[in-house]
Amino acid sequence: MPCNPNSTKPDRPTQWRTATAFVAIAWPLGACQAQAPPPDPQAALIAKGRRIFFNETFAGNGRTCGTCHPEQNNFTIDPAFIATLPKGDPLFVAEFNPALKQNFENPRLMREFGLILENLDSFDDLANTFTMRGVPHVIALQTSVDSPQGPRTGWSGDGAPADGSLRAFATGAVIQHFTKTLKRVAGADFRLPTDAELDALEAFQRSLGRQRDLELPLPLRGTVAKRGQEIFLDDTLGKCNICHRNAGANATLGGQDVGNANFNTGVEDLPDQPADLTGEKVPPDDGLGAPGDGTFNTPPLVEAADTGPFFHNNAVSTVETAVGFYDGEAFNNSPAGRFLASIDPNGAGIELDGTQIAALAAFLRVINALENIRQSIELLTQGQALGLREHARGRELLRRAASETRDGMAVLVGGGLHPEAVAQLNESSRLIKRAAKTLFSRRRLTREAIGAQQRARAQLIGEQS
């Protein structure tokens, strides 16, 4: 039975021969689709948002949203990624556009620490009123951007102008980062996103990554990661689950769900912060509000291990150091640290030894790898369902699956964890590469790649009830 009955009309011999030939080729490949799926308006909106996110410059200096949130680097930038970019990349616009040479970015801090310049409190004194911040990834926003108090965007939870929503965020970002000159005149230095573009951008960003939180505890197989999970969930030891419920971005305080919240954890009080050591001007960052109250927004932890550096100022580079921060004086003397001490039976904040820090980091690495595997399988499965004529889309999905797989391997290797799972991911990666190069064996190779992902997953976690 051919895909399209009309193609076999006997009074159209040429069409019939063409259709027969097509079916003869397509049938064994499984490309014959009985009926095109109905158009999905939400999928179309997300696809439109993706195009805008990565291609639209809004008539500005050449940057797109993807300039600072590149998909191939988990929607964030770090010094290693920045080092791979060509000199003319729009990220470096302050280095080659004379109008943006002063007070738009600090190229040294950008290249060395992945920091970008933000005029959060005011544009009245550009030389002195600014902050230097890392680029937060935009993965799993669906789980973190909403809170009972309103939307939380950006490092201090107040990153958007207008109504403060994720939808409005792009408008502020265009004004801050896309402008041709520091005059920032709408219609001359950039154009503002339209309502339709804002809708699409929001839909795309909300579609990225996890759509819901984990349910801990997970039946982890690794001895150290399993201990890390116990420490994470222990409200008298790691105390992590209080502010990062289920390793997400939402807090439970006194048994109440307060959603995505802001805390002053004392990161600004860390000694020897990398950017400060350069001697470059780095004004204190006062967080939420103008003037700020010193609080910053809680990010999700599932995606942490492959999206460093960490904290709003990229203060540390490894997940182990980020966990270790909570054992230090800066945190334990902060309002959040003092609160934890106030509810501890022994009056202690967070006190962890080296092995416990390593265990917590191992846990974070494993749940990150599990998310990489989940996304890889999802992308590969989507690719399998595509028809023969959607080869380009299929290759795109394979490319993204390969990227997730690489990340999964990297976070496990970085912690010396689960070498058998790494071997399976390596095998999956090899199969994905082969699948991307072939047309006729693509489905089989993709199926085998999914199998390797599933075997890797089985090394990390047992069956969930």
Binding site: F123, Q149, G159, A160, P161, A168, T171, G172
Partner: protein
């Protein structure tokens, strides 16, 4: 347990009940009048200045729905929207709230419409 309850109550109040200020209010300055996504037409309204009382720190504007008097506090931001002149927008002051000028006002509480969060004053002549 009692210590936990009081500490938690404090932190809940601090983390959850604190008003969510929008730090990127600063970029709001460069958004032309009537173009703030999700705010214009919903949380903000456009009108013409009928009266500005510097002593009382109040502003009376004429909107399609009628006259409205609102309070201006120390926190209220005043922006001069010069985008029609293709010039950079500026931070303004109470003195810029001159009778007859077109303004957009965003309220701290959109339902009450009593206190201005920000005011954009449209400047159409150099």
């Amino acid at each position: 347990m009692r210590r936990f309850s009081s500490g938690a109550a404090f932190l809940i109040a601090w983390a959850a009940a604190a008003p969510l200020a929008h730090g990127q209010k600063a970029t709001e300055r460069y958004v032309p009048l009537g173009q703030s996504p999700g705010a214009s037409g919903k949380l903000a309204s456009i009108g013409e200045i009928a009266e500005a009382d510097a002593r009382e720190r109040t502003l009376t504007i004429t909107e399609p729905a009628g006259r409205r008097t609102l309070k201006i506090t120390e926190k209220t931001k005043i922006y001069l929207d010069r985008s029609k002149l293709k010039q950079t927008n500026l931070t303004g002051s109470f003195a810029d709230l001159q009778k007859g000028r077109r303004v957009e006002v965003k309220y701290e509480d959109a339902a009450l419409k009593q206190v201005a969060d920000w005011i954009k004053v449209e400047i159409t002549q150099p």
